[in-house]
């Protein structure tokens, strides 16, 4: 199936899209999906080690399981606020 992953900021810039589509079989864990992200979109490989994943609006670890209903995003280092 196709998993849509939300991209922001430099991840969006490098991939050239706000929604990366990754072919995979679910459920899978975040660690497995990371590898598929790099295979699908090589420009993300250099920044991915600096990024966190979010699953259902919460930070996820490599062990977090992604189901078909999950909303998934790549979270580059944040820079909200000011000074």
């Amino acid at each position: 199936m196709t998993l849509r992953i939300k991209l922001f900021a430099v991840a969006m810039q490098k991939a050239g899209t706000t929604d990366l589509e990754v072919e995979c079989s679910l459920p899978a864990n975040v660690g497995e999906i990371k590898q598929l992200v790099v295979d699908t979109c090589p420009p993300l490989s250099e920044i991915l080690p600096h990024c966190r994943f979010a699953v259902d609006d919460e930070f996820a670890s490599d062990d977090t399981v992604i189901t078909e209903q999950a909303s998934v995003a790549i979270i580059p280092p944040v820079s909200g606020g000011a000074c």
Binding site: M12, D57, V78, S79, G80, G81, A82
Partner: protein, 139 residues
Amino acid sequence: MINLTRDTIDTQQVLESVQDTRAGAVVLFLGTTRSITGDRETGSLDYDCYESMAIRKLEQLEAEARRQWDVVEINIVHRLGHLLPGEASVAIAVSSPHRGTAFECGQWLIDSLKEDIPIWKKENWADGTHQWVHPGMED
């Protein structure tokens, strides 16, 4: 109280939203953009946001702050979209019975906001170049 907005932050409204006769102190923090960073000049800024997650994480921050401190009201407002230097990107207001609480809690909120809230700033430099800001990451 959490708000994300694409309009100018109405600081007067933010202050009024936390005022309460049970509070003896209000601390308002405004984060604004300097026009000069090092030797580079900022032309404008764009803030991108993962909104559903940002609201969830900001609500968690507010709940944690209320656990830690005796506060009356909290209002966190983050501006999104296009900003000019000098405009406020974030406003945090805290009211509390005693002033030390409002200062401590306000500082903790802005420090924490900068760690874990999925909001990103793009610097549009006056020289025409652009750069997403990602602390700790080489571009």
